[in-house]
Structures are given as C-alpha cells and as structure tokens.
Symmetry: D2
Subunit: 380 residues, 4 copies
C-alpha cells in the first residue's frame, strides 16, 4: 500500500546519553537490533527517508527514543531532556514537514510543568501532533519509585492534552532496577519487548482508563502500540472481571465497559507485532477504526513491516480497511496531520495502489503472489 | 441490538395469485415454511409489527414477494401486477412510515416502461426508497425465455435508477420450467433457497457488474441478500479467473476488479443466512460497510434472525461494526430513509443498546451469556 | 512448506483431441491460460517435475484433463478414451511412483462399465489411488442430456468405489451447448472457472449427498476442489433450508446434516482458489481435516499456489494445521498413497520445514517477511 | 455439547484457612464472586454435581483453590497443607471417580519434597491425573521472596512430573505484598483476574519454556488457563523478539520457537475467558489441539461457561473441533483420565450431541437460535 503513515517511530539526539537519555553511541553494533541502532536513531533525512520512499511510507511521526524523560528520576534533568529534545525535533521535522511530524516528550514529575512544555510544543513550536509518555515516570533517589498517571494529581496534564486536541501515545519502557531484580532476574530476556514491556504498559493504560480519565476528559485520545499490548485479546475477561460490586471504588463510568473506549478514545498500532491473526482478532474485538499501522523503527525493519502490511495483510482483508489502518485512521486520530505545515490528505484505495487491475498488468490475472508463471521467485 | 433496520422483507397482496403473482392462499399450512406463510405475507401492521417491536427491529423495508412481475411472461400482466402492488404498498407503508418503507416492483419486459413505473413510485407515490428485481424476467410464449439486465438494452433502466438515487435489490427467483426439468429434476429440494436461488442470482449479479453497468452508472447501487449469494467467499477466484486477456470483450473497466465495487456500489445483506463464520468471512473480504442486516421474513423467523444478530454476532464483533451492519449502513445505502416521511436517524452504540454496563446490571459482571449464576436458563 | 502433496492436477494425452477429449494442440498460445497450456498438460517428467522440485511439492496426483469421458456423449467413445488414458497414465506415473500417482477416468454412461474400468485400474494397473468424475456425463444425440450420479441407478458404481476404498474427486466441467446458450450467452466469461464451474458442480455434489449416497456407502469419500465450490460458506443456509417437512422425500439420513459429512466423507481442496479468508472460513465451518492443498496445474501456476501456501497461509495458521492441509490429510483420505509403489509417509512440522528457527538463521529474528533488514526485496 | 470435561475447577477444604490456605469462611457473601464462593468451594457432590448434570459437564478435574501451598512462605506449613489437601481430595474424587479426578497440590520450596508428594499422589493415592502449581512459591521471612521454577534447581521436579506422565497446570496467584504495594497500589482492581494474574503467570510460563525445561523433559506437558494468559495473541512478537543474538544465554533449543511447543507440550484452557474472538485467534495461532474447555468454577458460573461453549462457540466452529476442545484433547493431554478408576472414553460428535438433526426436531429446520418461530424467547 502506498502513502502509509507510521506513528511509533523512534529518533534520538546525539547528546541523549549525556542528558540522561538513550545513548545512541552505545548501540552501534550491527546485527543484534537492526543493522545499526544507534546511527539509525540519529538519522532522519538519510537512510530513514530513503527506506520510507522505497516502502510506500509517505509520513513518519517521530518521537524521542524510550525511556526519554520518563527514565530520569531527577525532575530538572528530565525536564531539560524533554525541552532540548522537543526543540531539536521541531528543527528536524520542519526540514521536511510533508514527510515528518513529531510527538512531544515531557517530564511527568510535575503535571503542570508537563502541561507547560506540551503547550510550548503545540503553540510555540511547529510540527508537533501529539505527545508520547514512556510508561511510568522514574522517581525517587534510587529511581525505584514509579509515578503512574492514573493518579488524580495528573488531571491537569490530561486537561491540557484534551484542550490541545493532543493524542497521548503510551509507550513501554524498562522496569525499575528493583523490579528487574525481584521479578525478572534469570529471565531478563523476557523483560523487554518479548513480554515485560506489554505487561507493564497494559497495566498503566488500563489504570488510566479505569480511573475515569477518559470520562473526565471525553475528547482525550490515547494510543498504544504493539497491537494493543495484549488488551484486545483479553477484553472479554477484562470487562467481565471488573465487577463493579467487587470494586465499587473504581472511578470509571458505571455505564461503560473498557471496550467502549476503543475506536473513539483508545487506539492501537501494529508497531512491532506483525501478526495477521492478532490483527484479525483486534479487528473483531475493537474494530478497524481502532487500528493503525506503525513500524517501531529502528527497533523493527521498515521493509519487514511494510512487506507484511503491503502483501500479507492485503491478502487477508479488504482494501477499504487496509487503507484505513495504513493511513485514514491516523488522520482522524491525529487531526493536526491535516493542518499546519503537514496538510496530509485523505486518500482512496486507488490512490494508495490498492485494488484495481494495474494498467501494465491488464493482460495477466489478478491474484498472483508470484508474478512469474513458472519460476519461483525469491526476494532479493 | 435495538433499532435495527431490515431490508429484504416480503409482503403480498390478496389478489397476488389472481394477478399472476404469488398466491398467498395456497401457502397457509403451518410448519413447512414459517408458521403461516400466506397470512404472514399479507400482514403488515399486526403480527409483523408486533414481532418487530419484540425483537428490536425499528424499521422494515417491504417488497412484493418473489417472483412478482419477473415471473409473468406476459408484459401487460407483469406491468399490471407491478402497478397495483406498488400503489397498495404505498398505502400500507404510509399508514406507518416511521416503521415501514417499500421497494418498488417493476416489470422488466421493457426498460422504458420499468423506468416510468419507477419514476411514478419515486415521484408520485410516497414511501419508496429502492426497487427490487427478482432475478431474470420470464418471457416468451412458454415462459422459458430469460431476460437478463446485463444486456445493453437495459441501460435506460439503470440510468433511471441512478438518476433517482434508487438502490436496486437483486433478489432470487425460481428457475424456468425448462431449466428445472433439465437440471434440477430429481434434486428439486436444491433448486430453491438451499442452492438454486444463489446459483442463479450470483450469475446475474456478476453479469451486471462485468457488463460494466456500474461503470456507466457510477452512482448506481446494487444490493443482494443471503450474505452475497456465495460471491464474497469466492472473490479471489472470480477476480483471478476473469482474465482480461482471455475475455477481452468483457465490458467492465479494465482497471477494476469485481471486489472494488463492494461497499461503494454493491452491498450484501444477511437475509436467510444467519451464519457467523460466513459473516466474518464477508467482513474480511468485502468489509463491514458492504454488509447489512436483513431477515427475509416471513420465509425466515424474525426472532431467529434477531437472536442470532443480537446475541451471537454481538459476541463475535465489536459494537461499532454491529451497529453499522444492523442500522448505519442501511442509512448510507438507502438515503431516502433519512428523508420524506421516514426521517430515520443515525444512532450510536449506546442508543442501540450495544456496549456499556446497563444500569440495572451494574452490580453484576459483564459477559453473562446466562444471567443466572447457577441455573441453566432455557429459552421460553 | 516442504513435501506438499497436490491432488487436482491435470494431464493430457497427445491423442486427447482425436479421441473426443481435450485437444492440447489447440491451446498452445502463451499468456492466456498459463504459459503454454497444451504442452504443460502433456508434460509430466520435465517442466512439471522441475517446478515441483523448486516449490516443495513432493507428490502430484494426476488426472486426465476435464471433461474427459464425461464430455463424450457416445458411450463407446467415452469408454475408449477412459481406457486409453488410464493405461497411459499408469505408464507415466510408474516411471516415477515416488512423485506421481493417478486418478482413474471412467465413462459414466453405464455404472457397471464404470465399475469394471475402475476395478481394472485398481486391480490390474498400478499407481491409481482414486477416481475423477468431471461433473455430469454428456449424453444423447446432441450431447444436451446430462446424466447425474445421484440417480439410484449409479449405486453399483458407488458400491465399487467404496469397496475399492477409492475416493471420488468431483471435478467441474463445461455446460452443455443448450444450457450455455440459454443461460450464459452474453456472459460466457462467467461460465467457466470464474463461476459456472462451481455453480454446476456444487449442485451435483449436494445432489449426491442429499440423495443418501454417503449413507448407503458409509466408507465412500468424495473430494471437491476450489475450496469447496461455494459450499463451506453456505453450509448454514444449506442445512437450514433443507427442511425435512418441506422435502420429505429427500433420501439423506433424517438425523444428519450436510455439514456432518465434511471431514469424514467429504473433503475440499484449495485448487485454484488461493484465498486466505476463504480458507479460514472453511476451517471454521468444516474443520482443518476437511481441507487439502491442491494447485490445479497447469490451469494455475505451481509457484503461485505454493508462494500463497508456503508464505501467506503459513503466516495465518499454526504449523500443525499447515502440515495437515499441505500433506497429512491427503494421506488419510487417499490411503493408497501410503502403499504400493508410492509409500508416502506421514511427516511432522520440522520435516516439512515448518516452525523452528533455522540453523542458518539463528543469529537473526523470527518473523522476517523480508530477509534484509534495510532493503525492500522484490521477487525475481 | 454433552459430555464436556472441565479442567481448572477449584475446591477447598474446610480447614484451608487455618492451615494457611484459602479461608472459605471469609468468602460467604453472595453476589460479589459467584453466589456463595466459600460454600461452593467446599462442595463437590451437591450443587456442583447437579450443575454439571444440568450443563452437560461429564467430568471435572478438581484442584485446591489458589494460592494453596504456593502462598505459604513457611516450607513445613506449605508441605502440610499440600499433604492434607491431597489426601482429602483423593477421598472426595474416589466417592465418584466417573465424574471427578484431582490435580495434586505441592509445596515448591523444595523440589525433592515436591517430587515425593507428587509420587505419593500418583502411586499411593487414587484419582490424581496431574498437578497444579499456583505460579511462584512465596518464600522468605516476609513472604516477599518469589521462587520461580525456571531455575535449574527445579529440574528434579520436572523430571518426576515427566516420569509420572503428569501434566503440570500453571495457575495464577496473587502478587507478594511488596509488589502489590509498589506496582498495583491505587489500581488493585486490576491486580487480580482482570489483568495481574495473567501478567504474572505468563512471565513464569515463558520463563519455564525459554529456560529449556521442555527440551530437557520432552514428554513433559504444561497447561495454562484463561485462553493462554495473553500468549497466543502475542506469539509473533514473542518469537520475533527472543533474538538469539541478543539473548545468547537463553537455554531453549536454538532450533525451536516458543510456538513450536503448543499442542504437543503446552496447552491452554478457556477457563474464565469466554470470548469467541479470542478462541478463534488461539485456534489460528496455536491450533485446535492446544485448546481445551474449562470453567474456573466457582469463580465463574458453570451455566455461563456452558451456554457460551454449547451455543455460541458451537455456532462459530465445526463440530469436530468443538468436541476436541470440549473433551477429546483433555483425554490426550491427561492420559490417566482413560485409566484407573475414571476410564473416560473418546466420544464422537453424535455422542456429544453435536451435529445431526435431532429426532424430535426432524420436522423443523436446522439453525434455529430461537426455537419458536414467532415469539422471542428469553432465558429463564
């Protein structure tokens, strides 16, 4: 599919490490994650853009690599990283705003300060269409205190995000050292993207929803990656077990189920989970409007995500839904994409190269997974 | 789901038999089809409306029972039945236009005459939102000639339907006596709703599409029942095998596939095919926008269709898509439902009783297929 | 997937045309169907075997190209074609019985003669594992009479097939000239593989089932291609509408539904319908045991079918089911594959190259649709 | 479906509370969980059996309610509870071994002691077919130390389970007080069955698998409930992200993926997650052989689970797979069910009341979700 939009795409600043964030210089070895993680994080207009062009990605929404400010337990340092990263991200995306936009980073030590920084990004800088929170905020002298945003004290932040029409991407992050030691020692290979990321961030997301944040801020939108961090598959059990009689103090609206928020206030992306059965399950449970394409570059390969979506998903769902997931829904969730320096437009299936017999193919049949009739083609 | 709209619902006039149409008096025995087919066809405001009320059906679109004018090989008699039935249908639906509308019947012996009758229904009568064609038009002295509307001579009729913004429902009918004798003798139990209906009408529908009718009349919409008369399941093979090199004279646009018309110009209903796996397959292949709820009353039971949709389908898909299939799509396809004497409105999930913990149920859990905790409830 | 078995694969004899069958010489032009239909039908051990090797097809079951004897209205000529073709097929498959077996062809003018020829193939010749019937038998002076095998007079044939443990493949064929003229004129592009094949053969298959043939011969097995010729998608409606009160003379067991025969006596193949949504629907409705891989070579491309199955289907279902559909079920349905000159064995997922991290890939991740991290590979 | 087998069904002993286990007396209030949780846990042959009879549950496998010995940080007390509970469970199930069997409880403080107790249950007592482990073993003076069985020191226990052909059910439990305080405070409604149970036990299960336990003990079988504790939905991401280059010390076979163990060594049950979309997703990803019916009584209602399975799942999958999930797979995983005092037999679809037109229904149609043609039936 042509003209895809990708939403959970990481980027870094060279001074990330020195500011307490992710140190790109430490991850330069090839072959373990991607082909050159550190360098790929720093790059925007070179390899990244070239691969976007080669893979039908019209637009990428960039965000500072996790954990960003959330990983810094000192408030001033966290705020400093956010501010510097946001200013630099503005500079990068404004070099090519037809292809890039940014999600703002904020320190979540102080909801008011987070609100101020978010307002700065939306009102004073250009190129921002949302904000990213990398799970809980590290706090405390040893970094083992976790601040969660389902606490009522964060309502001013949510109010700001709603007022700015700024969707909030809830992204995973690493556990605190203490939890890593207590729960994941001996199985640390599971503590990251294979399992731990989802196990942590799904609690935080459900915490925010069941705390009634989306009820108090009914125009607020939340986005999570990785096909919903296990939640779509488990929605029956989640709604079934949040027994109001057993949990009378749960603040979510009594006449709402968790599932009711998906597609209107909660959305998932495909980042890093290129599974057709999982996508089909999500489409059944939360509906196509709640699903959006993303890659998770450079932790995932752009061509890999796009071959999956352009060829395998295309083979399994109709063209209208493909274009919604690949592009259309992003424009409805991130409304700023249609405005300002980006001016991204809604496109139909034909404009996205979906459906239709191609002019040059009129003499051959539809449905050729292998163009040659007689020779098994291999990817090269 | 509350407030459903049903689209393929049969009705008859007492004089149907004497006019060459369906003779309700001949089908009064209980137990074979429905509980009293003949009487149920004649009824609108009694049992039918009561069952609609009891089963969350806000609105029914009525049409003269098949084969109607299509079964009458004498043009004058066919036109006469259409005209009388349309006038009477107008009378019936206008007694309660908030609950009923009609599909016009037309003789298809002469495209111009069909156009005139359709214009009369849309411009001079009230309560019509579409037209129904019961497959081919019987013709010839012995009724064994079949007129198909993919012939270019029918373009004036399609032009009228498009100009009136009148969706055309293509409904099945019985085979000619000759074909019944040649192909179905000894297996006539298969010649009707179990198989023959679909086998005939899917050819006619694909004939119309591949003849380019939808290209020449790009605002024209076609509707078929019974979950698409086998077509959604077979779309790969259909598109794959309509090899343009082999069939260079096929008039459909060279840059289009049959699948491209679904959801914009071709729509299917669930009438008489209450299968969850089939619906899920259709949603994958043609998308939720192309699917609409219908019953096929009184050949099918209203409660049966509604228990399936309200309970079983609800358990398998998300609420937004349920409401689209049950109501929303009908309003987009049959735009006249929003206007004139009907003024049917778009409704959200909550208004349709979908999603949300009900007030009276706040103390118990979501997800109870059986309300009692300990006693197996049976339907009574 | 390695070691696949393909079941509906056509072959022809050079004298086919002169004997009243398919004339390979007439279909030599490239580009319309396949790359050289006539030559590909004649070939066994050259291009065909090479493409099998290149695409993980261990075994092909060959059958004389449709309509074979069924297309010949003269009994003697039909019997002659069958006998000659069977003897030649024996010769071809016995050149390489580890890679090929055959389905016998029979004239169906006379059930006793058909039984005799089938016995000859199974008892006197080698390499036969089943029989193929190309829909109805053409009969009568003008070839417009259709003989259907649901007639009780065919019970001796079914008894023979059961006694020989010989599965019967019901394959489509063209319509009679008369039906082609009456029903398909003006839309003949639909009369073949795009629609007409399935519309005819699904009636015949359901005729045989509902006539009680499978009840009278409970060890008899039937196979149909093209993902079941529309039937799996419509099983609810078929079973729902075969109302025993309305059709009291239907001979099928009163305590059986049509769906009950699938997986034990009726099986479908994927031949020519490489649709993932259709396969998923079939797996829901009739179960994985009822589904078997096939190509429909040379009317379909071997690499195309295999790229679909090896890559796209593999991405959508688990490995155990993939191997069942690709190989295991064929060994349970066609038991002779395990015996005689073939001695094909059951294989597990690892032996079929399904599942597992490959040795040479241990350093990279699972789930790469595109092997290169950074370059979009295209098939060449 | 008749003759279902249910595998994750809780039971308690009156002295459970005083022995450090679950105190049934504390959970007698109606309406919060079930209708009388404490009493229902103590009951076997009264209400429980009656509801089994009323809901087509032929057989229940009982296990001591969680956390059992795993919740007791004092080794002697934990061992004592296990021993007493096992002896009593033997007594209960042997009162009616045609309807009940048990899973042994073991303290996991000491693998050798656990092995001894398991051997006692399998060799000296009757009625045991497997063992249950309620996630990690609480340990340490404050109960905040967690013992996980992926540690190599537990190999003697796994060896015993394998040697006894004793499937190991990995069941969830509550978090330690410390983790509850650190992670779940303020959102404790999520810490139990709605989310926390799965988030903990999926880590433990994947820890065991990726530690190579199933490789070292290739006949060992593991079972988890709640539709796989999120894992089937996420298998792509799990296998994709367990990059062997990044995690070279992961002990699982280098030529295996996590998904390769499902259906042969790892199985899931439907306990407490009565979601059709989730079951369909699991069937795609891990296959029908890996899925088994269970209820989670008395935390879940027997009629609710059974109405879902008998009516809703039946409507969505074929009969052969329904019977496998409802019964057949349990006999293949828990082989002792076929032996000793139980002698449970494999049954076909007809014997389980699946498929077929019922004798008393021969006059009406198949596919009636609502038996009455005209009256909407409600469950009473």
């Amino acid at each position: 599919m042509l003209n895809k939009i990708a939403l959970e795409e990481a980027w870094n600043i060279p001074e990330g490490g020195s500011l307490g964030g992710f140190d790109s210089a430490k991850f330069s070895s090839k072959g373990v994650i991607g082909d050159d993680l550190g360098a790929n994080l720093l790059d925007v207009h070179g390899t990244r853009l070239q691969q976007m062009d080669e893979n039908g990605v019209e637009f990428m929404v960039l965000s500072l690599v996790s954990a960003g400010p959330q990983g810094i337990s000192d408030p001033t340092a966290a705020e400093n990283l956010a501010r510097i990263a946001n200013s630099k991200l503005c500079g990068e995306v404004m070099k090519n705003p037809k292809r890039f936009a940014g999600l703002a980073s904020v320190s979540m030590h102080n909801p008011d300060q987070a609100s101020s920084e978010l307002k700065r990004c939306f009102n004073e800088l250009e190129g921002f269409i949302g904000v990213i929170l990398n799970d809980f905020q590290s706090s405390g002298p040893d970094g083992n205190t976790m601040l969660f945003y389902d606490d009522a004290s964060y309502d001013p932040f949510w109010a700001t995000a709603e007022q700015l029409n700024c969707p909030v991407y809830i992204h995973p992050r690493s556990s605190t050292p203490e939890i890593a030691e207590k729960m994941w020692k001996g199985r640390s290979h599971l503590n990251f993207s294979a399992l731990g990321y989802a196990n942590r961030v799904n609690m935080h997301l459900l915490g925010i929803i069941t705390a009634g944040v989306l009820d108090r801020f009914p125009r607020l939108k939340l986005v999570v990656g990785h096909m919903g961090e296990h939640i779509p598959y488990d929605l029956y059990r989640i709604d079934h077990k949040l027994n109001r009689a057993r949990f009378p103090n749960m603040r979510m609206r009594k006449d709402r189920l968790v599932r009711d928020y998906f597609g209107s206030q909660v959305f998932v992306t495909t980042s890093g989970h290129f599974s057709t059965p999982a996508l089909l399950c999500a489409m059944q449970e939360i509906g196509v409007e709640a699903c959006m394409f993303s890659i998770d570059y450079p932790f995932e390969s752009i061509p890999n995500a796009c071959v999956w979506f352009d060829e395998h998903v295309r083979d399994s769902i109709n063209g209208r839904d493909l274009v919604r997931i690949g592009r259309g829904n992003a424009l409805r969730v991130y409304e700023r994409l249609r405005e300002g320096p980006h001016r991204i437009k809604e496109l139909g299936t034909a404009e996205c190269g979906v459906g239709g017999l191609k002019a040059e193919e009129q003499e051959v049949e539809f449905g050729l997974y292998n163009k040659s009739w007689s020779r098994r083609e291999v990817r090269r």
